[in-house]
């Protein structure tokens, strides 16, 4: 129960009540001009068993709508403590990948890079960890919803701190199926599927768990995700890819702080956010703040599918197209005018009258996903 957020809502109601619905809320734009405009962001990890991918970007102002600017043309390598260097090469701008590597768990590693402007950065040395495989990704129906659970263990008791990432993919359909398309001033049977699509997104949740309290390094059915029973994601078929990472104590604390900051965006009534301190330092200017935490570990993955047939029959789902009202009718005479833009599409032939039609946002599922299933779909 988040009493503080709801307290704010209540205050707002109270405020409008007392003041007769005057505007109590205004935009708040504090003067933060003395803060650095943009921080370097280092995203990724040193893969102790595979290809390391590091993305260098820059942070954005809170109001920015653009994707983050990338930090291209950096010289970047993995460095073994008193040992070898493994270079990373830039594939797309700002993204740097290494060769497939097998790091030595007895040694310590760090990331070392110089930006195009010659500033030099290093991360703290960290021991390479190896993530134990995921035993199971399961799901269960609980409290009128679906919970996705993960189980894993490490017989050597070396891991103890776990972090998980999830990529979700689901199948969906648009509000109405279109059988016709208007191409080159001609109405014709639609050939391409724009009704059934698939979409993927990172879950965005930071999931952490530790087994330090337990006598064994075992994670049993740890809940990672909860989907309400009405979720559009469950309407046809849902899949989630769980990625598991073994973490150092420091990195665990970093993600824990990031998690708490993410769950509440600062209000006077929310818990105080914490300042993030990663493990990346600028050697050129020690006062420069760099965002990110680079650990060294491997990744373990497991995919789960949930089909509609596996779920309780009584469940009904949102479609995501609730705002799409009933289709219109376009008389023959208006066809050429109505369907000239791609924003308004015909649905079906209406004997003697014309075509039913709707906005593309309600018909073309490609506006929200991809009309071909991903390679792993089954």
């Amino acid at each position: 129960m988040n009493t503080h957020v709801s307290l704010r809502v209540r205050l707002l109601v109270w405020c409008t009540l007392v003041l007769g619905l005057s505007s109590c809320i205004e935009t708040f734009e504090p003067d933060i001009s003395n803060a650095p405009q943009s921080f370097l962001v280092v995203d990724g990890f040193l893969n102790s068993d595979g290809v390391t991918t590091i993305r260098l970007t820059r942070s954005l102002g809170l109001k920015a709508k653009t994707p983050p600017p990338v930090e291209a043309k950096a010289t970047i390598f993995i460095e073994e403590e008193a040992g070898q260097r493994y270079p990373l090469t830039e594939t797309t701008a700002g993204t740097y990948v290494s060769a497939r590597l097998q790091l030595n768990p007895a040694r310590k590693y760090r990331l070392h890079f110089n930006t195009r402007t010659g500033r030099e950065y290093v991360t703290d040395y960290t021991r390479a960890k190896f993530t134990p495989p995921i035993d199971e990704v399961a799901w269960e129906v609980e409290n009128a919803g679906v919970r996705v659970l993960v189980s894993t263990h490490d017989n050597t008791n070396q891991t103890q701190y776990y972090r998980w990432d999830m990529d979700e993919t689901w199948e969906f359909t648009s509000a109405y199926r279109s059988y016709y398309e208007y191409v080159n001033n001609k109405m014709q049977q639609r050939t391409v599927n724009i009704y059934r699509c698939w979409t993927s997104q990172p879950s965005g949740f930071i999931k952490l768990n530790t087994t330090t309290k337990l006598s064994q390094d075992v994670v049993a059915k740890y809940p990672l995700l909860t989907l309400p029973s009405t979720s559009v994601k469950l309407r046809y078929k849902y899949s989630v890819l769980v990625k598991q990472y073994a973490q150092s104590v420091e990195e665990f604390a970093y993600w824990e702080a990031l998690r708490k900051n993410t769950e509440n965006i600062g209000t006077l009534f929310d818990p105080l956010p914490s300042q993030l301190t990663g493990n990346i330092h600028c050697l050129t200017d020690p006062s420069e703040l760099v965002l990110g935490f680079i650990g060294a570990y491997s990744v373990q993955e497991k995919r789960l599918f949930i089909s509609r047939e596996d779920l309780p029959a009584a469940w009904t789902f949102e479609t995501g197209y609730e705002n799409c009202v009933r289709p219109d009718t376009v008389n023959f005479i208006n066809v050429s005018v109505s369907f000239t833009t791609a924003n308004y599409l015909p649905l079906d032939f209406l004997e003697g009258r014309g075509y039913t039609a709707h906005y593309a946002d309600c018909i073309d599922c490609r506006r929200r996903g991809n009309n071909t299933p991903p390679a792993f779909w089954k």
Binding site: C24, A64, G266, L268
Partner: protein, 925 residues
């Protein structure tokens, strides 16, 4: 036998107990004899035979009384006393060796000395004699400015030549004690005192003739002529200053600012408080307290006070000696105290008397009126949001009085008038009730009982019902051992609880509850040793019992798991002694020592953690079970209270003080302002008590015969082990709260400058404060460090603060008030940037409290219109028209951020973002 009817009638005008002292002045012939069940007339005959006394009595009444007595060489008085013991007869002896035996009350053998004055005022009760239990009337009171009151009997003065005069100051109309009134003589040198909470005063002076001055809040300044012969009592009845609008008085005595030893204390009386405009036209003591220098709050509409850089839980709020845990109604928009029953509010910011303890920053001592002891009366008010009614009157005239008051809101009704479903489903209401009874048993004993109950309930556009209840009760017995020593025995009980109920979805239907009970038993004594020493001492015991939190399912369909935190219990004891020493007329010192001991008690399970690591669920090593009554943790320590005053001249003085406070109960709240969901937590094996040291020094100067007061006070405060929170701490239903809190260090310093004009058509005060309040968290293991272990501004660090309260009186019936407040915006932690890791957007925040919300300023205007001043009318009414936030400044109450379409937008919520006019009608009958 001899008839004494005429005399008897005459003497009935005033009754006076038998005075053995008279006999002692004569060379007494002694009586011997064996009286074996002889009749009273025969007894009299034998006594008259042995002595030169003549004994007068009513034969009808005494003929049948048998005397059984054996005496040997006893004075007549003793013989008579023994003979009449256990009978209803009393006797009196006059200077001419006449003895008058009467039934019921003894007669007064000497004429009252003012019996022939025109107003027939009663005489001063000038004798050291013990009152008899049969005395029906209260002690006579000094009411005349012209008459000379003789105190004590000639020749009875002690060898030292010093005489103690004591008594009560009471309002003539209602019989209510006048608290904090100054009673002093000006020549040959100024010697004075102030009345205590019972209106009691005691002055020690060399025997002689004096003009006794009496000044105080809400009373007319007056004086009495006294001739001090020996120790004695003088009850003072003074007239109430009826004109409400006359002046703003902050302190009782005009020269207290300079002459008093106490520093860092602010005293407000209800009349001052009434003049300050508030948001809803409701007189609000806490809102006025917030205008005083050194007192701040994090936001508008929150009653949590921050006194000199302290946290909101560091204020001891006493309502007739019972602790109040939540002093607010409706999120703090109203204070929980009905203004009609209040008498005075005293705020100690530094130099806290040794009597008080248990909180670090301040003591807010709120006292109610005793009720009218003379006649039945009532008062009330009708405002936009609330209405209130107070009834008071005597139970036994001049001896006991009651006061009953109630206040309720009708915001519920208002909400339902709005044609909007959301509002109609909402509710917001509160009420509070006060009852107080005082009874003067006799001259030496008085009892006081107070009960208070308040309840809040709100449900605003949601399915969650918030409810909280404050209840307190206190019972006080005051006993005067002698003129110089009195004691008060106080028992008090406080209860606070809240619950948050959610019943909309029956699957999730549940109730979250928290409660705290506190029982106090304390004995406080004041000993006026002599002119130079006033000694206070006492003992204080508190038993705490905290229902630390519970979540219980409601209804059979609820799937909520029952979760109840174990009850916490503790005992807190304190002993204190303090001595106020007037070294010279210019130099005074107060030395105080309080020693407190705290014991957290079982039954409860506590956890042990890995040493050297941040306490978390992951570092628990063991669970320790404590049996019922077993000690979980014990803390104790001395608390020093020292203050000195040096008068530079009659109009200027310098004062300094040092005090240490210890606090064993902590409020946990991760919101910056006080909210109804705050939890109180007792110290235990993990949570150490808070300790605070404050050093302050001040300069005081009065101008224009004490009508303009100025002061500069500066302070430095160090606070140890107060509670701060780890980032993202969970406080509700946390079974191991120590994993989410850290012990922080704090420091605060500041300068407070104030100028007050107390009289005249234009009056009020202006104050400016520069203060800082800083926190540091670096003692814990690495994970617990905040802002790199540096000092950072606390939530209520508002360096600049300017307040002006001004009143201008056009006539007796019209006056206006203008308030102006400016302060620096409170610190806030802001999001500075967004960034992407793993394709998810994250937010980067500044260091904790690195930025500030916009500065706060507000002006309020009020117009008070008194009804006509005719004495005979049904009710005396007055209107208050006020505009709160005259300039419509949108001061942010809350600031928050929302992620919208990939952007992060900031919003500010201002609650009183435009001028708010209000109208209130108050009446008195």
């Amino acid at each position: 036998m001899r008839n004494i009817y005429a005399l008897f009638f005459f003497f009935l005008l005033w009754s006076y107990p038998g005075s053995p002292a008279v006999g002692q002045q004569l060379s007494d012939p002694l009586v011997s004899g064996e009286f074996n069940a002889i009749r009273f007339p025969e007894f009299v005959r034998q006594l008259e035979a042995q002595t030169a006394y003549r004994i007068y009595y009513q034969p009808e009444a005494l003929d049948t009384l048998l005397v059984r007595l054996q005496v040997h060489d006893q004075p007549l008085q003793v013989v008579l006393q023994t003979a009449l013991r256990n009978t209803s007869f009393r006797f009196a002896i006059d200077a001419e060796r006449r003895v008058f035996v009467t039934s019921g009350t003894a007669i007064q053998p000497n004429l009252p000395d003012n019996i022939f004055t025109r107003d027939g005022a009663m005489l001063a009760a000038a004798a050291e004699a013990e009152p008899t239990p049969t005395e029906e009337e209260p002690r006579p009171a000094g009411t005349s400015e012209l008459k000379l009151y003789e105190i004590g009997k000639k020749g009875a003065a002690p060898a030292s030549g010093k005489v103690t005069l004591a008594g009560h100051v009471r309002e003539a109309a209602s019989g209510e004690p006048v608290i904090g009134a100054a009673v002093f003589v000006e020549s040959p040198s100024t010697v004075g005192t102030t009345t205590d909470q019972f209106g009691y005063y005691a002055l020690t002076l060399p025997a002689g003739r004096y003009t006794l001055n009496i000044r105080g809040i809400g009373i007319k300044n007056t004086r009495r002529q006294v001739q001090l012969l020996a120790d004695g009592k003088l009850e003072l009845e003074v007239e109430e200053d009826i004109t409400n609008l006359k002046e703003v008085v902050i302190e009782a005595e005009k020269d207290r600012n300079v002459a008093g030893l106490q520093m860092g204390v602010e005293k407000l009386d209800i009349k001052t408080i009434r003049q300050v405009p508030t948001a809803f036209g409701e007189t609000d003591i806490l809102r006025v307290v917030l205008t005083l220098p050194g007192v701040k709050s994090v936001g508008e509409g929150s009653t949590g006070m921050n006194v000199r850089g302290g946290a909101t839980d560091q204020n001891l709020i006493l309502f007739n000696d019972a602790t109040v845990y939540n002093p607010a109604h409706l999120f703090g928009f109203f204070s929980a105290f009905n203004p009609d029953v209040l008498k005075t509010v005293e705020l100690y910011k530094s130099a806290v008397p040794a009597k008080y303890g248990g909180r670090l920053s301040s003591v807010l001592d709120i006292t109610t009126r005793d009720g009218n002891k003379k006649k039945f009366s009532g008062s009330g008010g009708i405002g936009l949001m609330t209405s209130r009614l107070t009834l008071e009157g005597p139970l036994i005239k001049d001896k006991s009085a009651f006061i009953l008051a109630g206040r309720t809101s009708y915001s519920d009704w208002l909400l339902h008038q709005i044609p909007n479903k959301t509002y109609q489903e909402s509710s917001a209401s509160f009420y509070d009730l006060n009852a107080h009874i005082s009874h003067q048993i006799n001259d030496k004993n008085a009892v006081y009982a107070t009960g208070y109950s308040s309840r809040d309930q709100f449900k605003l556009a949601s399915d969650t019902l918030y409810r909280y209840v404050n209840q307190t009760a206190s019972l006080k017995w005051q006993h005067n051992f002698s003129n110089k020593l009195y004691g008060v025995l106080t028992g008090a009980y406080s209860h606070y609880r809240y619950s948050i109920k959610n019943e909309k979805n029956e699957v999730n239907a549940s109730e979250l509850a928290f409660g705290i009970n506190q029982t106090n038993l304390q004995a406080d004594f004041s000993y006026f040793r002599n002119n130079k020493h006033t000694i206070d001492f006492g003992i204080n015991n508190i038993y705490y019992s905290v229902a630390a939190g519970s979540l219980t399912p409601i209804g059979g369909a609820s799937l909520i798991k029952r979760d109840v935190l174990p009850r916490e219990q503790a005992l807190e004891h304190a002993l204190y002694v303090s001595d106020k020493i007037d070294v010279t007329s210019r130099f005074a010192v107060s030395l105080g020592l309080r020693y407190s001991l705290f014991n957290a008690l079982g039954p409860r399970d506590t956890y042990a953690y890995l040493p050297g690591l941040s306490k978390s669920e992951n570092t628990i090593t063991d669970t320790i079970s404590h049996k019922a009554g077993a000690s979980i943790a014990t803390y104790h320590g001395p608390e020093y209270r020292v203050s000195v005053k040096y008068a530079l001249s009659d109009n200027a003085s310098v004062k300094a003080s040092y005090n240490r406070m210890r606090q064993y109960i902590h409020m946990l709240s991760n919101t910056a302002s006080m909210s109804p969901t705050d939890i109180w937590k007792l110290s235990d094996d993990h949570l150490r008590p808070q300790v605070g040291d404050q050093y302050s020094i001040g300069f005081y100067r009065n101008f224009k015969s004490n009508t303009i007061e100025t002061s500069v006070e500066t302070y430095y405060k160090a606070m140890h082990d107060f509670v701060d929170y780890k980032s993202g701490a969970t406080l509700v239903l946390n079974h191991h709260i120590e994993t989410d809190v850290v012990n922080a260090e704090g420091k605060a310093y500041g300068v407070e400058v104030m100028a007050k004009k107390l009289t005249g058509k234009l009056n009020g005060w202006v104050s400016y404060t520069y203060s800082r309040s800083l926190v540091r968290v670096d003692t814990g293991p690495n994970g617990d460090v905040i802002n790199g272990g540096k000092f950072y501004p606390s939530n209520f660090d508002k360096p600049h603060d300017f307040t002006m309260i001004g009143n201008y009186r056009f006539s007796r019936r019209f006056s206006t008030s203008l308030n102006f407040t400016y302060n620096t915006g409170r610190p806030i932690t802001l999001p500075l940037a967004k960034f992407y890791v793993g394709n998810s957007m994250r937010v980067y925040y500044s260091e904790r409290n690195a930025y500030r919300v916009p500065d706060y300023y507000r002006a309020d205007l009020a117009l008070n219109i008194e009804g006509n001043h005719k004495i005979k009318k049904l009710a005396h009414g007055s209107w208050t028209l006020a505009v709160y936030n005259l300039t419509g400044r949108k001061n942010p109450y809350s600031v928050y951020y929302k992620a919208e379409n990939g952007q992060i937008n900031g919003y500010q919520l201002s609650i009183f973002g435009r001028p708010i006019p209000t109208i209130t009608y108050n009446f008195k009958f």
